[in-house]
């Protein structure tokens, strides 16, 4: 089944599928981010795939790599009982097309990725912070975000730099 997915997807979108990998029986396909919406709509509607369930959507920060971030999509098909992992690579400051028009569940997931990684999604209806306060500075799940930081709360040490470790 997994080979069928990759070969058929390659036939249909020869330009979009960049890399195909398999590890522990899980298929990962790296795709071009510009083609995400048509590709995912096809994956959802085609009866051979019918990926009607977006299990998960998350970001990964590969600090030092170019492009720096991965956005990872885990698709599942309730009818065919198969899974697929899609990945797009995105550089800091670039944005990814939003998948809210394909699966509504992408809404909160994309907000979370924006909140914790600072990756923006084009076409998202309400891209705002979800877990952190609105006025929070920085994106905590980035690898260059310090693990401990002391908030400067009083004026006498206002000019002291924050402690940064790790």
């Amino acid at each position: 089944m997994e080979n069928l997915i990759s070969t058929k997807l390659k036939e249909k979108f020869p330009e979009s599928t960049l890399e195909i990998a398999e590890f522990r029986g899980e298929l990962t396909i790296v795709v071009k981010k510009e083609d995400m919406v048509p590709l995912c709509t096809f994956l959802r509607d085609d009866p051979d795939f019918s990926f009607n369930f977006l299990s998960d959507l998350c970001g990964v920060d590969y600090l030092g790599r170019k492009p720096r971030f991965d956005v990872v999509y885990h698709l599942y098909s309730l009818e065919n009982n198969h899974r697929l992992r899609l990945k797009v690579k995105v550089e800091k400051g670039e944005s990814v097309p939003s998948l809210t028009c394909v699966w509504n569940t992408a809404n909160w997931h994309e907000r979370e990725v924006f909140d914790l990684f600072g990756i923006t999604f084009d076409g998202h209806p309400d891209l705002s912070r979800i877990l952190l306060p609105e006025d929070w500075e920085g994106y905590p799940l980035r690898k260059d975000f310090p693990l401990t930081r002391e908030e400067v709360m009083f004026s006498h040490n206002k000019n002291r730099p924050p402690k940064i470790t790790g």
Binding site: R24, E26, F53, V60, H74, T105, W108, L116, P140
Partner: protein, 400 residues
């Protein structure tokens, strides 16, 4: 009628009121805040506001070794901590390509099913309490105490168990375990019947739940809803059946489904799930195989204590494991289980070091909560409380 009065009536018709519900509202099960836009008593728009319990668990996990992550998983869905342990450990075991021995698998299944019952008991108690059936809370928590006793017997902890470890269990099941589980198996069916007698045909209960918080199966899948809510819509998807893990294919059980996708059907599904869980527990208890409780994979699992005290090699292995952990192969894996709330998945990216490069938790409560506006918009404000209760959220997992 004076023109002023006409204006006022029109203003009532066109203007809406914004009501802030939570985060300290008792029916929001923790610290959920919902901003409701109301026209009279009808909800026009609902905006959940979450994040009050955000502690950065995923970030913390990146600086822990693989074994040190286990206690953190307890603290997400804290009423079903063993399910969290299991989901994480199965993912790590998939990454390392090891398998727990049959005995550990049986005990894992047995305890996660007891966890499912405990989680559903918390749900039925607090949900009924929200709607006005006060006594249910006391009954449900009384019975849950019996299950927590079993967890305490195994792990020394009532809630933050961390009993499952990489490759199997922390220790063998203690003496008296089987008799305690047997007692639960004997007494529980009657208790579930009692809940049914109290609620299932109760007129107030029916009025508050039937047709409330409806969602269609198509919408539910579109919003990523899983677990008892999705099954309440009539979609019989359960990961224990579709992708059996930890030896679930050896057990006989049914997947209860509803029809209407309303709060009442979710209630029926969860009650039936408790009965099915008891069935699985009974089969698991009868069939616990002989053997070791942990896969003795050198360099991953701690050597037995007697060996550590008598053998220098084993002592070195133990020391190295405790101090620096083990290195996992480079790669990425995703594994999900059917937790009491729905699909609980872990995605681990390993860069070959002793710490996970990235752990992502797919929290079922977070995703199910995102469908809340879909369920309550256009309904009355009193239904909001019933609907939030029926989603069965644990804010520790929503916010992480």
């Amino acid at each position: 009628m004076k023109p002023q009065a006409v204006n006022r009536i029109q203003r009532i018709g066109t203007n809406t009121m914004v009501l802030n519900m939570g985060p300290q509202h008792p029916s929001t099960h923790g610290v959920l805040r919902v901003i409701l836009e109301l026209d009279g008593e009808t909800v026009i728009k609902a905006t959940p506001d979450i994040g009050f319990l955000h502690t950065g668990i995923e970030k913390t996990m990146e600086s822990k070794t693989y074994a040190q992550v286990i206690p953190l998983t307890d603290r997400m869905d804290y009423v079903a901590s063993l399910s969290n342990n299991l989901a994480y450990l199965l993912t790590v075991e998939k990454l390392l390509d090891i398998q727990a021995p049959p005995k550990a698998q049986f005990i894992r299944v047995l305890l996660t099913e007891l966890t499912r019952i405990a989680s559903h008991l918390v749900w039925v108690g607090s949900h009924a309490h929200d709607i006005g059936a006060m006594s249910m809370l006391l009954y449900a928590f009384r019975e849950r105490e019996k299950l927590l006793d079993i967890f305490e017997l195994c792990s020394g902890q009532r809630m933050m168990t961390s009993y499952f470890r990489i490759g199997g269990l922390a220790q063998d099941i203690p003496e008296g375990f089987e008799s305690k589980v047997k007692e639960v198996l004997e007494t529980f069916p009657d208790k579930i019947n009692d809940y049914e007698n109290l609620l299932t045909k109760n007129r107030i209960w029916l009025n508050r739940t039937v047709g409330v918080g409806k969602i269609s199966p198509e919408d539910a899948m579109d919003w990523g809803v899983s677990g008892p809510i999705l099954r309440g819509c009539g979609v019989g998807w359960d990961i224990r059946k579709s992708n059996p893990y930890s030896g679930y294919d050896k057990f006989e059980f049914d997947i209860p489904t509803g029809k209407n996708g309303d709060v009442y059907d979710r209630y029926l599904v969860r009650l039936e799930e408790m009965r099915q869980s008891l069935r699985i527990v009974g089969q698991a208890l009868d069939g616990i195989p002989e053997g070791d409780f942990v896969a003795r994979v050198q360099g991953v699992v701690l050597p037995p204590k007697e060996e550590v005290l008598s053998n220098i090699e084993a002592l070195i292995f133990q020391f190295k494991l405790v101090v620096e952990g083990f290195s996992a192969p480079v790669g990425e894996v995703y594994h999900s289980i059917e937790s009491p709330k729905g699909e609980l998945g872990y995605y681990i990216v390993s860069d070959g070091s002793n710490k996970p490069y990235r752990i992502r938790v797919r929290p079922p409560c977070f995703v199910n909560l995102s469908a809340l506006p879909k369920m309550i918009e256009g309904r009355l404000i009193a239904d909001v409380v019933a609907t939030i209760g029926s989603i069965d959220i644990v804010l520790g997992e929503v916010d992480r």
